[in-house]
Symmetry: C2
Subunit: 145 residues, 2 copies
DNA sequence: ATTGCAGATGCGAAAATTTGCAACTACGAC
DNA sequence: GTCGTAGTTGCAAATTTTCGCATCTGCAAT
């Protein structure tokens, strides 16, 4: 039982097609520990099957993101990166705009916001792997000198 | 006194260079009411000065975003768009992934989150024009049939 | 007013991302 | 298992976005 089997089940249940390309992109991302660029995903998929096209990888990461099984990370001046959304390890990030430090934010920390948006606007939001920008503790100090 | 004068003051105070290109991009965005694509910004800037290059517009919107005087809107399958960040009208968005409906979310609604991130992680976040994804009230109903 | 220079611009070229389309295939119905 | 078809893929081409670099300029210091 591979580590992405839960994600595969989720795709099956939502009735979308499970092609070999999609399975391979999912596998590449789930078998990695960090955030991978599209190019990196492509390289790893090609190890498994050399004729998978880069454009397919682009289409597939978009698809998997919309299905909620992978998360996206966009930082200014860096290529977009993707990461597994593992059950029980859902998280977000805050990045320091001065030094680039990045921390994980527990998914639960956004629960209050999620409830507010439901109560006040009737929207049920999908908060998956958000990236917020700010100042880390160290840079806040430096700045105030 | 133009409507972007407050933003200009903000740039002056942070000690960055105020070039004509930057002023024109700012003007184009502030004199518009909606979210403009980079291409649209470029067209409007060229009305004022025909030799401003598209790459300059790209660099400038990035710059102005980082300065916090314009906000970014990224929706899957659509070009990135930019909008004025007007004092007293700061807001975020929630977009329905089913029907595309987009609503404004008051900036204050994220105050609790902002405080939590400070208290728990020591980060001071800049929450400027976020875009969250979810299901609007109507689509939540349709779905549950 | 003049000077000096870090940082911004225009332009061409490169790189990244998207798109159109004919061929292919996953998967539900039989 | 075979069939039918809506949805997916590979490929090439278009489009969007970024980058390198020589030149130019905003602005602080004098
Ligand atoms: Mn992550
Ligand atoms: Mn807006
Ligand atoms: Zn920092
Ligand atoms: Zn909707």
């Amino acid at each position: 039982m591979s580590c992405e089997s839960r994600a595969i089940d989720q795709l099956r249940e939502s009735g979308v097609r499970l092609t070999p390309q999609r399975a391979m992109v999912l596998e590449a991302i789930y078998h990695s520990d960090g955030h991978l660029s599209v190019e990196e995903v492509h390289e790893r998929v090609q190890q498994l099957s050399p004729y998978v096209d880069l454009s397919t990888v682009y289409r597939t990461v978009m698809f998997l993101k919309q299905q909620g099984v992978i998360g996206e990370l966009r930082l200014d001046g860096q290529p977009v990166r993707y990461e597994a959304v593992r059950f029980g390890q859902e998280h977000h990030h805050v990045v320091c705009s001065s030094c680039g430090a990045m921390i994980d934010v527990a998914s639960d920390d956004l629960e209050t916001l999620s409830e507010l948006l439901d109560t006040k606007y009737g929207f049920e939001v999908n908060l998956v792997h958000l990236t917020l920008v700010g100042q880390c503790p160290a840079c806040r100090n430096d700045q105030s000198r």
